[in-house]
Symmetry: D2
Subunit: 360 residues, 4 copies
């Protein structure tokens, strides 16, 4: 009833992984101190230290927007700015929350592939010390990016070194860090703390959790005000144990990697299956769980009758198809068949109306 067919719109259209549902049920035993003073939260936080090092200080929040915006609030004063890709979620898809809640400015960098580089960032540092301009104080990168691309550990390290040499911090929006780590075959730490990242938004909801994201500081000093920032930022859960239980389950036996790998593999299969459909052209490398493809405009309406998905770039009918931890081979086959079928539809005037932007 609530359920629809598997969606290829976003990985947040999926439900909750059974092991995480089980953990939620188990956590529901009697009373526990509120606001994170409970033993389950203590245990889950310790798991973050196991993974990211003993200096790592994690804080659970409800959602990715909050993880990103409050990370920026912890790093930036209002007269400071974060440099990010123009396509970054914080720039395009937070309805101005960084500006309104953190009070800071974003300095968007035009990119081809959603990735910052030292060359692209350097010109923004010319204003350091000049009071008329917002002062760049952090770089924010997304891993994997909104365009389905990846930073290698070396690329992250290069950006981190450049940032630190110039007195800036490096923030990583890791709402899909698990997908990146799975794709690259490395640990979560290798892409974050070990590569020089200062603050990480670590995603849960797109990888099988019901809700929840963690802000992880890799330098204790950066975390010292965060309990207040989280509370004032309207993200301090009273029944914290239900956030903690989910994270614990996600980290247990690398469930995060299993989920992310499954999603990545489904995307690879999808790309392979649809790439020879007439009029379909895969437009970007398929590295994680997103497939970007130009599709015939006439297919949009027909396909939408069965599946919801987003058109990323309307000017060329470039769709973004995303897979989830629970996207099965059958789901992929069914979707590919529907696209193939739709590609045979004759074009009609109304076939391509308002397929609007993405939503994360």
């Amino acid at each position: 009833m609530t359920a629809i067919m598997k969606s290829f719109a976003s990985d947040n259209n999926s439900g909750v992984h059974p092991l995480i549902m089980k953990a939620l049920a188990a956590a529901n035993a009697g009373h526990a101190l509120a606001y994170g003073q409970d033993s389950l939260t203590e245990r889950a936080l310790a798991r973050f230290k196991d993974i990211f090092g003993q200096e790592a200080e994690a804080f659970f929040v409800f959602l990715g927007t909050a993880a990103n915006v409050l990370s920026l609030k912890a790093l930036l004063k209002p007269h400071q700015a974060a440099i990010c890709a123009a396509s970054a979620h914080i720039n395009r898809d937070e309805c101005g929350a960084p500006e309104s809640i953190a009070g800071c400015k974003l300095l968007p960098v035009q990119t081809e592939d959603g990735k910052l580089t030292v060359e692209a960032v350097r010109p923004f540092l010319g204003d350091l010390g000049f009071e008329h301009h917002s002062q760049p104080a952090c770089l924010s990168i997304t891993q994997s990016t909104e365009l389905g691309t990846l930073y290698t550990p070396e690329e992250i390290r290069t950006l981190a070194d450049f940032a630190h040499e110039n007195g800036l911090r490096l923030h990583m929006d890791g709402s899909r860090l698990a997908n990146a780590a799975a794709a690259l075959g490395v640990d979560l730490a290798a892409l974050s703390v070990e590569a020089g990242v200062d603050v990480l938004s670590f995603g849960g909801a797109k990888n099988g959790m019901m809700f929840g994201e963690a802000v992880v500081f890799f330098e204790p000093d950066l975390a010292k005000d965060f309990k207040y920032i989280r509370k004032q930022g309207m993200q301090l859960a009273s029944k914290m144990r239900f956030l903690a239980a989910q994270f614990e389950a996600l980290l247990d036996d690398e469930l995060w990697r299993k989920n992310a790998s499954a999603a990545n593999q489904a995307a690879a299969m999808l790309a392979k299956t649809i790439k020879d459909i007439p009029g379909v052209r895969i437009t970007r490398p398929v590295s994680v769980n997103a497939v970007f493809a130009e599709i015939p405009p006439r297919t949009v309406e027909a396909l939408r009758r069965e599946y919801f998905f987003y058109i990323w770039d309307q000017t060329r009918t470039e769709a973004r198809f995303m897979t989830s931890f629970d996207t099965s081979e059958e789901d992929v086959a069914g979707f590919a068949a529907a696209l193939r079928q739709a590609s045979k539809t004759p074009q009609t005037p109304s076939a391509n109306k308002k397929p609007r932007g993405k939503n994360s």
Copy 2:
């Protein structure tokens, strides 16, 4: 393991009601559109219209701080102010979120019982039109109040009429509205829309939900920007169905009333059981699920070894004991026995150190 003995610290130390856990599990079937575009959310929102009238527009958010602060943001411009009791949660327990996130000022009114009255509010309206002063534009009341007191429907109506005659709006922090309705034996609408309230924060987490609160606008015009305010306010859940499912279960067969009644009755029983313990004095009428009582200072440390609770007023060792939907007769009896036992402890110098304020 996570579980501790029943807590008397706050109703948010409780877990999740079994019917709500069941609803969560049922909602976890396949994929659903994100951000509230799913059928379960549609259905739950319709339930709010059934209860509060067809003009009611409800929006789910993660927690009470957000429900209150974003309600104020919807009602107030930054040069405007909300008048509230000095003891109100928005004034004391949101770490400055109304000021920082909504940008507005709070005008705190000193009260004995946590309740606003026309007489107490009127002097604050003398500044209307005077640009040097924040302009009062809404009253915010809590039902039931932070001091365990209640507004009758008539009292709410009187405040609403006064507010409206002066061009102000009436906001209700109803994180414990269910407890009030259960205590007064009336419907939720009778205490809100029918009594002239304009915007309601309707609580879930303190009454058996895992997380979640609803902002309910009773005039569609007030709601028109709220989808943006919620998104920018970092409260737009991607997997919205899991908020919707909980609310649907809470509203089904008036589960909200059953839960609230159980908590209220446990408090009544607790008050009755402890009131004749030597040195214990019930300090406020027990109308809902809070018992305020002066206790012998020497009991605090001993009792804390087994139970967590808050000292409301340290100057006279006034404790606040709160009961929950799942507080049983045995829990009450056990707690009362522990308090009785502790009251026999001889006083020691260290017995009364820093029992800090409440946390909701």
Copy 3:
């Protein structure tokens, strides 16, 4: 034409002292670098170091609201709070600017005389470290206060020591610091840097300048972001030399003290002259340039035909009469005569309508 009779409404109804007008004219010679890079600004800033010590870093802004609010912004993070008297200008007369612009909360203390004391402030520190509450991080006092009272150097030192012992800073709203120093016969430094104040808003416009206020930090570290805070706070004057020239003239030969003394003496004379008018009662000690007096309600309308002034407390028709650097003996005599005459007016029903609050 613009001129009206001498006003007793506020010291900002006065014009500009002739020596300051002369300094403005002299500063208008040719071109000068903008934004404070000019030699006149450099010279004026050096004067502040002469007066307040070599560590003092002064920044000119346009007005007192900005000096106060941006001082708070420099001292406080949004999750922090300033403790101030409920009657403080920052709490009552900035239209919520501290909350909206600095994003912080004010914790108002009820006082009789507008002065903070350690006893009154101490209870607000109970919440340090508790994330649900705004964290007190500074005390803000006004010298002389909005009620015409004074802090002695020792009283300031006591508050400063208490603040510093508790990790707080001490801010002084010194929009009338000159009047205080003149009244106490001490230097500006004795009431600020030497008494432990961390940041001072030093007033100009109420003491003979056309516009302008200085924010003075007594610890260089506190000043390090202020050039950005001032620019973002919309207070960086392009033609800064015209602020500098006024301050230079005000500091030359202690013009500030001469102006303030003249105003103080006029107030003393006014109090003496009116105190025996029937129905008039001086309600507060006259220490600086404000006279608070209950006057017969029937006199208000009659007196207002000739003079503008504010009713401070309508419930008892307590007026505030303020004198300026240029209030002459004749002005005082004339005003006193008018009040005496008005006191003979028979009472009429409309005689006391809407005499609204103060405006600084």
Copy 4:
């Protein structure tokens, strides 16, 4: 001493026009009600109605940053956005004040000439109604632009119609509107209210005033909260008459046009005089009082010994030279001679170090 040689850095390096100094002196007669309740302010505001129509509501503020940012605050809610040229002062030179003070987002448009067009703006409207994205609610254009270009009345009308058809407002940063009107030979109204502008920042300080800017609303409804926005925005002058007197003088006998014409003519003369200096290339049309020119890198250091100016684009040593109301033929001749002389300097390694951006 304060005076330096005529600067070609910015028109705000100039002093105050003698007629304006005279008006300031005349305004300094006795007392006047504060905060704009005086007759001089009333008279000056009436002058704005004479010029811009009886519906025009003007408000004086201290500086251009405030005029722009508070205009945006009046037009936008925090979830809304202003579309502007990437080169706009509000985007580049306010240290993030629009974001921090108005809480809104800016959507920068890349342009060649600093001018918005319907074609460039249209793609930004695709997100209207989509809650994940900041909602465009106004266009902000600068007249004359930061690049010295002009909008014709027809171009403004086209943008205004487009904005209004899409539910947006049109804001004009007119800090140099006088220069534009003088160059185009039209009235101030023809470029603003008559062309469809909704809110105008009208500049004074760059055209001969000591300080001051006016925010002019052309629809009374838009102005209704502005008295609060100005006060909270720390821009309500106590001695308002000194702002009013300057504006009155500037508007008298079109002093604004005389001043602006003088500056424009000086720029034209400068361009003509330097354009054949070897290595100098005028890079943009000289329409108002700015001359953009590539100059030999080796000339920068030598020329800076005598004159201050800004390098606009370091990559090609493009300088911006600005003239003022008081730039004389001799000043131009002297500057041109210095540039010519400098162009003969042999290049040295240190000759071109960090000539930083513009500052208005």
